[in-house]
């Protein structure tokens, strides 16, 4: 592992830029008083977007630059490798270009997309269910995907479906995840269709599938356990150019769509009756959001396994820093979700053997979350 001066330079630039922007915003707001709230909100959002996308870019490049733990380049070299490899169209590359372009770039893109996807799903679930403990796996998606994927690893696919294809496990996981969500939705709608019904339905489905997963694992041959367990903890090792687009495109589309829901998400925080009396079709909105967020989760889980904590903790971090308005929470979640996942992936690869990413995200996230909770946890009282 090697951290060069360039990286520190970039971090310093971002810190200075942030300080500069914060001071300018404070000054402008003091001058205007509170009379121009929307103007100051716009200014803040621009600052969040500038600092956020710069940070995401730097972490992205740094994660590639620090490669597989044994292979180090500087950030500017990485940058030029990426460009030259793209210019050559991915063929006839030098050794360095090949490693960066074929090996590291798709994994970093995948990690970033999964971070964004899980964070977005977390924001959507927490707002619609109005419960701060909810994570993207609340509707049983992860248990369904896990069950199907482990089945595939131990017994092969159902009826020889896609047998032998690299997409077999991911596709089985997506089907399993969505089927589990379907079961949750069925139970929830039959029992009244409120947000709480969804949580309880998800808990039931999750328990049942979790138990079946355990049974499956006990049928596994002794030498066949490592792969399922590794999958359950999450890893980006299976992400390649062949499948990364299937993660990135849906995530970007869903993230963009979720932005159009920002004001409605604010409204549902006030409660179902309040949102309805303001003319919103809450039932339809909730179901749309739950389906969208579950699909997003299923796609993330299918390719990289079950990575916990990002979807739970990132929305909270954003809310604690920037307040509860979803016009800030959503864009900030994209950035922090992406950064946290890239950083966790980098740490997972940095110490020789590749560690499970899911464990690393929890290790980074827990202390950060604990700190913010102690500082600002009162917003969830009552």
């Amino acid at each position: 592992m090697y951290v060069d001066m360039e990286l520190w330079g970039m971090v310093a630039v971002i810190v200075l830029l942030t300080t500069f922007l914060v001071i300018r915003i404070r000054k402008a707001e003091k001058k205007e008083g509170q009379l121009r709230s929307i103007t100051s909100r716009k200014r803040r959002l621009v600052a969040v977007i500038i600092v956020g996308s710069l940070s995401l870019l730097v972490v992205f490049l740094a994660s590639i630059a620090n490669g597989a733990g044994m292979y180090d380049t500087s950030i500017s070299e990485t940058f030029s490798y990426i460009f030259s490899a793209i210019a050559k169209g991915g063929t006839g590359l030098t050794m360095d270009e090949r490693i960066v372009y074929h090996h590291l770039l798709p994994k970093a893109l995948g990690a970033m997309a999964v971070g964004i996807g899980l964070a977005t799903a977390g924001v959507l679930f927490q707002a619609v269910i109005r419960n701060p403990l909810v994570d993207p796996y609340i509707t049983g998606v992860s248990s369904g995907a896990g069950f199907a994927a482990i089945w595939g690893m131990i017994f092969g696919s159902w009826f020889g479906f896609m047998s032998g294809s690299v997409f077999m496990i991911p596709i089985m996981a997506i089907i399993g995840g969505l089927a589990a969500f379907g079961a949750t939705m069925l139970i929830a709608e039959k029992s009244g269709g409120t947000a709480v019904n969804y949580v309880l339905g998800g808990v039931i489905v999750g328990f049942a599938l979790g138990a079946m997963q355990t049974l499956l694992l006990s049928f596994a041959p002794p030498d066949g356990l490592q792969r399922p367990l590794f999958w359950l903890f999450g890893s980006f090792s299976r992400v390649t150019w062949d499948n990364v687009a299937i993660i990135i495109l849906p995530v970007l589309i869903m993230a963009a769509v979720s932005l159009t829901w920002a004001r409605k998400l604010n409204l549902v925080l006030l409660g179902e009756d309040q949102a309805r009396q303001m003319g919103m079709n809450v039932r339809k909105f909730n179901i749309t959001v739950l389906i969208a967020a579950s699909m997003l989760t299923a796609i993330c889980v299918a390719f990289v396994g079950i990575i916990g904590f990002v979807g739970l903790v990132v929305p909270h971090i954003c809310r604690m820093i920037l307040g509860g308005d979803h016009r800030f929470v959503l864009p900030a979640s994209f950035v922090i979700g992406g950064i946290l996942m890239l950083f966790a992936d980098f740490l997972a690869r940095a110490f020789g053997p590749v560690l499970p990413v899911g464990a690393i995200t929890a290790l980074i996230g827990a202390p950060l979350f604990a700190y913010l909770l102690i500082k600002k946890g009162r917003m969830y009282d009552g």
């Binding site: 509170q34 009379l35 121009r36 709230s37 929307i38 909100r41 716009k42 927490q126 707002a127 109005r130 701060p132 159009t260 920002a262 004001r263 604010n266 409204l267 925080l269 006030l270 409660g271 009756d273 309040q274 309805r276 009396q277 303001m278 003319g279 919103m280 079709n281 809310r319 604690m320 307040g323 509860g324 308005d325 016009r327 009162r378 917003m379 969830y380 009282d381 009552g382």
Partner: protein
């Protein structure tokens, strides 16, 4: 005297799925610009009726007309521009600030995708000033006292610019000072040609501020009229099964003193 009624309820019935008949054949009409108290014991159908008026519940039969328009034939967003509702309390805030919360009241009017207009902002700022919450506009909701939070909820309903405001037990967890304060704010809004229907348990408070009161029991309308004339010991015994003195103080204000619970034997 030919002013058309703002709210007209005709033969309203609400029967829940489990067969409970919560509102039984209620009819009344209210002119614009009145503060109307809705009084009755717990479970008498006050909240259910209010929810039928702004169509949060589907009524089983009957009609509700607002400004002559049938709510069942109006879209939800059209109703939202005419009727606002103030909940008894808001529990989870998820970090929304006072400004954010009041701004949600503009939802029925905002057409742009992302930010509200500067006109919306002006309306919200005026309302926050009016209800004395502008100095904590950026504070998060969970940091306020219940009295302050109630003012935020009223301000939110106010910026919705409704013709009719439905207020459900606004003062139930407030002390004397805040109770009076909330009622003064409601009275101020009535002067602005808004009609307010407020459900409340404190009969003396209702008598002091309301122009009209509607008394309900077991889902039925008992009577409707000037509180100072309608509220008598006999009525209270009939509605609440409680012995009470009803008197007037030296300023002519009515007060109710509950004395003894009389169970039916």
């Amino acid at each position: 005297m030919d002013e058309p009624p703002l709210l007209e309820v005709k033969g309203l019935n609400k029967i829940y799925d489990n067969g409970f008949h919560a509102v039984k054949d209620v009819s009344f009409s209210i002119k614009p610009g009145l503060l109307v108290g809705l009084i009755g014991p717990n479970g008498c159908g006050k909240s259910t009726m209010m929810k039928c008026i702004n169509r949060l519940h589907t009524m089983s039969s009957g009609e509700v007309l607002i400004d002559g328009e049938n709510v069942m034939e109006s879209s939800h967003s059209a109703i939202a521009r005419k009727v606002a509702n103030v909940p008894a309390e808001l529990k989870v805030s998820f970090g929304l600030s006072v400004f954010d919360t009041v701004m949600t009241g503009r939802y029925p009017y905002v057409t742009s995708l992302w930010w509200e207009s500067s006109e919306d902002e002006k309306i919200v700022m005026d309302a926050m000033e009016r209800f004395g919450i502008e100095h904590f506009a950026n504070r998060q909701l969970h940091m306020l006292s219940s009295g302050e939070r109630q003012r935020v909820l009223i301000a939110k309903a106010y910026v919705q610019e409704p013709r009719l405001m439905l207020v459900d037990e606004p003062t139930s967890h407030l002390d004397m000072k805040y109770k009076l304060e909330v009622m003064e704010y409601l009275q101020y809004m009535v002067k602005k040609d808004m009609t307010i229907l407020v459900a409340e348990h404190d009969i003396s408070l209702m008598a002091r501020y309301c122009d009209l009161c509607i008394i309900m029991k077991h889902g039925e309308l008992v009577t409707i009229g000037d509180p100072k004339k309608v509220i008598t010991p006999k009525l209270i015994e009939e509605v609440y099964e409680v012995n009470a003195s009803v008197g007037f103080d030296e300023d002519g204000e009515l007060y109710v003193l509950p004395k003894r619970y009389r169970a039916k034997h």
